[in-house]
């Protein structure tokens, strides 16, 4: 196609330029104006052709109108401006030289057709786009709905499958929805939960805040709360739960529902109760144990005014023998039977029986009248034990000792009460058993002191609280001092100076006697050495001798001989200077094994004295085989000689003993000489040595020297 100036093509282009300029302003196209003009040029060509065609076809106008819509000229103003252009310029630029009337007529009909084509295309396009966007919205909604459906399905699975109970209720408490777990918690039947109101679910154990929190939540003042709550199941059993309730609000924040999550804690609670039971009960007998008993006792002794308590502390007599001879299984069966019998003794309110351990049981009674009741309780217990217990086909006789403590609440602590009962029980036991004793404060005190001393003993040795006093031994023949007996003392920080009778039995009991005895021996031997060095030997009777007591425990101690030898050697002292005193009772029935160490010591030259002679049941014939060289007559023999004239029977006895002793080549020492008459009598009777207040009380080592000097000069 040529575009010669003012040729048909150039004129068509000028028409398209005018048209595009007129319409571009109102299009939404992203094309540039020249690009847009290129789009209109073929449309202008079609109009031009139609204008001059041999047979006129207005349909071309329709097509051009539709094409405008396709070129995004969707603003009706674009049509209006297009029609203006066609009306004003189509015939002018494209009509060439045709008949004007006819051309104008054709242009006019083309405009009508354009308008119709445009309107039709725009309507189609609008409808199509509306349809498209509606479908898109629908499709997007379906996607969301599917996602919501999936989400709901997942939520429902969680809701149904959850192990915790879930319900949703309205703000009036009407149950709207609940899951299977909740239904199972309430016993499994749907009817028990459906249609219920949350507010009916009260329980006597509800804490006061449970319903206060609920009210706050449904009023919208609280978002959630968490409580421990009990519910009744339809069968009357109790369901315990950890309950969390949350408020659900609608999109505008208004309270709408309550959502509850509950965890069944019934089992856990039962387990806790069982653990508590196990922690407070004795596994063997099922009786309350020490822990629970102490809780009760604590309550009983701190109860209010007017309240009293009575406690029976029972220990079976000889239970150890049963255990040792028949075995622990039999012992256990016996304990179970005893427990059952005891239980039947204490059935009244305020009474309880507990096992403290081993064969020790306690029975407690509380209330205002325990003074009378506790005796009855003890009697019932003693009575209950009378019938023999059948174990493994044997009829075992059961006896027990009971210590009773009774008193008003508010005075003593539980530990003190129990100790008093324990001490009293021991008193009953040492009185022969099979009886009950009432607590006595003085007896308690003694026992308590004894207990305190026992526990203080080991430290006392470390702290050098012991010291030794010496009581002279005097030759009855010439009144000269021959030596001294070492007597250990304890300077107790609270109790002052304690004699050996207060603590030696305790030391025997705890075994401390061995180190204590060794210490005494060491100190005494060293003292004897000291005397020898300072004053030399006695002018007539050789060196001053030292008497040291040996306890039965020490006798059996394997280190006795070696220790003694070592101590003597270390002090550089002859064995003859030492005399070991052994009580008669310690040697009763002694076999050769026990006597062996004594014999060895005697062979070395150590004197062995038989102490407290006459208090036991000595087989006099036995004296021959004992490695002793001295008899120490118990003070009971000399007491009869304190008055004048002396008891003739006593005189005869002593005379006999002395005669016997001397015939066995034994020297005789007498203790407890308090008067000159006594001393004279004993001298006449042939006794060899004496000690007692008449000569001197036990005292510090220096005193002995004074006595010896007096003696020497006198």
């Amino acid at each position: 196609m040529s575009a010669e100036p003012d040729g048909p093509q150039d004129r068509l282009r000028r028409f398209a330029t005018i048209w595009s300029r007129s319409v571009y302003q109102v299009t939404s196209t992203s094309l540039t104006r020249p690009e847009f003009e290129e789009q209109l040029l073929p449309l202008a060509g079609r109009l031009s052709e139609a204008l001059r065609a041999r047979t006129f076809d207005a349909e071309e106008g329709r097509a051009v109108g539709a094409a405008l819509v396709a070129a995004h000229c969707t603003d009706p103003e674009a049509l209006s401006r297009s029609l203006d252009c066609v009306d004003a310029y189509l015939v002018l630029y494209c009509g060439e030289d045709g008949p004007q009337e006819d051309l104008r007529n054709r242009a006019s009909r083309l405009q009508h057709a354009m308008a119709a084509g445009y309107a039709s295309a725009l309507r189609d396009r609008t409808l199509a786009e509306q349809e498209a966007i509606a479908r898109a919205a629908q499709s997007a909604r379906s996607t969301v709905a599917e996602a919501l459906h999936d989400s709901e399905a997942r939520f429902r699975a969680v809701f149904e499958g959850a192990a915790i109970g879930i319900y949703i209720a309205d703000l009036d408490g009407n149950m709207l929805q609940f899951n299977g777990a909740l239904q199972r918690m309430f016993g499994g039947s749907e009817q028990t939960v459906r249609g219920r109101r949350v507010t009916e679910w009260t329980h006597p154990d509800d804490a006061p805040q449970v319903w206060k929190l609920y009210e706050e939540l449904v009023r919208g003042e609280r978002e959630h709360y968490h409580v421990e709550k009990a519910f009744y199941r339809p069968d009357g059993t109790v369901l315990w739960t950890n309950l969390t309730v949350s408020l659900l609000r609608d999109a505008d924040g208004r309270p709408q529902y309550q959502l509850a999550l509950m965890e069944d804690t019934t089992e856990r609670r039962l387990l806790n109760l069982r653990l508590r039971y196990e922690a407070t009960h004795d596994a063997l007998t099922g009786l309350p144990n020490r822990t629970l008993f102490f809780e009760r006792l604590e309550k009983a002794v701190t109860a209010g005014e007017g309240q009293r308590f009575g406690l029976c502390y029972l220990d079976l007599d000889g239970f150890k023998t049963i255990n040792d001879s028949l075995g622990h299984a039999a012992g256990d069966r016996l304990l179970v039977e005893v427990a059952d019998r005891l239980q039947s003794c204490a059935t009244a309110p305020g009474e309880m029986v507990a096992r403290l351990g081993g064969d020790e049981f306690v029975a407690l009674t509380t209330g205002p009248d325990t003074e009378a009741e506790v005796d009855e309780l003890a009697s019932r217990i003693m009575h209950a034990l009378i019938a023999p217990v059948s174990v493994d086909g044997r009829e075992l006789t059961v006896r027990g000792s009971i210590g009773i403590v009774e008193g008003p609440a508010g005075e003593r602590g539980p530990a003190e009460v129990l100790r008093s009962a324990d001490i009293t029980m021991y008193r009953a036991k040492s009185a022969g058993g099979n009886r009950f004793e009432l607590a006595d404060p003085e007896a308690d005190l003694r026992a308590i002191t004894r207990h305190g001393l026992t526990t203080a003993l080991p430290a006392a040795l470390d702290r050098n609280e012991f010291f030794i006093e010496y009581q002279p031994l005097v030759n009855l023949g010439d009144g000269s001092v021959r030596g001294a007996e070492a007597l250990v003392r304890w300077l107790h920080p609270q109790h002052g100076v304690l004699g050996p009778d207060r603590f030696i039995p305790l030391a025997e009991h705890t075994g401390l006697i061995v180190p204590l005895g060794r210490w005494v021996l060491e100190q005494s031997v060293r003292q004897a050495r000291d005397w020898q060095e300072r004053y030399g030997g006695h002018p007539e009777g050789g060196p001053l001798r030292i008497n040291v007591n040996l306890s039965p425990c020490q006798l059996t101690h394997p280190g006795l001989v070696q220790d003694t030898v070592d101590i003597l050697e270390r002090a550089g002292l002859e064995p003859e200077v030492l005399c070991l005193e052994v009580t008669e009772s310690a040697l009763i029935g002694a076999d050769d094994d026990l006597l062996k160490p004594l014999r060895r010591l005697a062979e070395m030259g150590v004197d062995i004295a038989l102490d407290d002679f006459g208090t036991g049941y000595s087989n006099l014939a036995n004296l021959r085989r004992l490695p002793v060289s001295i008899l120490k007559l118990d003070r009971s023999f000399t007491q009869g000689m304190q008055q004048f004239p002396a008891d003739p029977v006593d005189l005869k006895i002593v005379e006999g003993i002395v005669s016997l002793a001397h015939s066995l080549n034994l020297a005789v020492t007498v203790e407890g000489v308090e008067t000159g008459a006594q001393a004279e009598q004993l001298r006449i009777l042939g006794c060899d040595t004496a000690q007692g207040w008449y000569y001197a009380r036990p005292g510090p080592p220096e005193r002995l020297h004074e006595l010896a000097l007096v003696d020497a000069t006198g």
Partner: protein, 270 residues
């Protein structure tokens, strides 16, 4: 607040949507009366709003053709809306028939519409995602399937960033996108601003308020603030300018006064 995946947000077409309003401005009928009502209210303050949209489309068209001419064949159009006509893939393929285009929008209706339009197109796809979570876009299987992130990409953020408020940190989001692109990539960006609007700011604010009303606040930013989106990229000539002045193909003086509102530019990653 983060919504759990199992609770999608519902679709409420009684609430105007910016992509459907945009379509209305461009003479389309992909919109509902609520959208048109909002659009007409905004136009009461700024009658020339459609011209701004048209200028955006024209800028995008030139920029895409520029990118394609530069040899870029991958396009990531975030905030694509409802492409009535002159979509990126049409424009790009006019130059480079192999061009691949990933459209991204967070309006589920716009996405659903695009899915229909793009059905059967192997080299174009649409993803429902949010510009504020760039990692979700970059890591999505669709983007990974369509776009080779080791090769240059033209990232289009046309008329979208002014809908991201500062509290959502648009700069961090854009930085993450920028940093993930291969060297030679282009960032194509246009943004609304009070600068260049042929009206007193008080009147323009009326239109801004309309967007606030429909819960799609329009954030007008200064040229300087807009330039910061290109941080680290080299600006392609003529830099950040009013839309008609970016590589015009006809005399800018012929353009409508409204089309000079806001700024547009293209940056290149070195």
């Amino acid at each position: 607040m983060e919504r759990p995946a199992w609770a999608p947000r519902g679709i409420d077409i009684s609430v105007p949507s910016v992509s459907r309003i945009y379509d209305f401005y461009l003479g389309g009928s992909h919109n509902f009366e609520v959208d048109r009502e909002a659009a007409r209210r905004a136009m009461e303050f700024m009658p020339g709003l459609p011209k701004i949209m048209q200028a955006n489309r024209a800028f995008m068209r030139r920029a895409v053709r520029f990118a394609a001419a530069e040899g870029i064949t991958q396009f990531l159009d975030i905030g694509s809306g409802i492409p009535t006509f002159g979509s990126v893939h049409e424009v790009a393929r006019a130059v480079s028939p192999e061009a691949r285009v990933m459209y991204v929008d967070h309006d589920p209706v716009a996405v659903a519409h695009s899915e229909v339009v793009l059905a059967g197109d192997e080299r174009a796809d649409v993803l429902a995602a949010d510009l504020r979570k760039p990692r979700e876009i970059l890591d999505s299987p669709q983007v990974r399937g369509l776009i080779d992130q080791n090769r240059p990409v033209a990232l289009l953020l046309v008329a979208i960033l002014h809908f991201v408020e500062d509290m959502d940190d648009p700069y961090a989001a854009v930085a993450e996108l920028r940093d993930s692109l291969a060297p030679g990539s282009l960032l194509v960006l246009s943004h609304a601003s009070y600068e260049g609007i042929p009206l007193p700011p008080e009147r323009a604010e009326g239109a801004v308020d309309v967007y606030k009303d429909i819960r799609n606040p329009l954030v007008m930013r200064s040229r300087e603030a807009i330039a910061r989106f290109f941080e680290g990229y080299d600006m392609v000539e003529p830099g950040l300018v009013p839309m008609p002045r970016w590589r015009p193909e006809t005399a800018p003086e012929d353009e409508d006064a409204y089309s000079f509102s806001g700024f547009a530019g293209v940056g290149r990653k070195a």
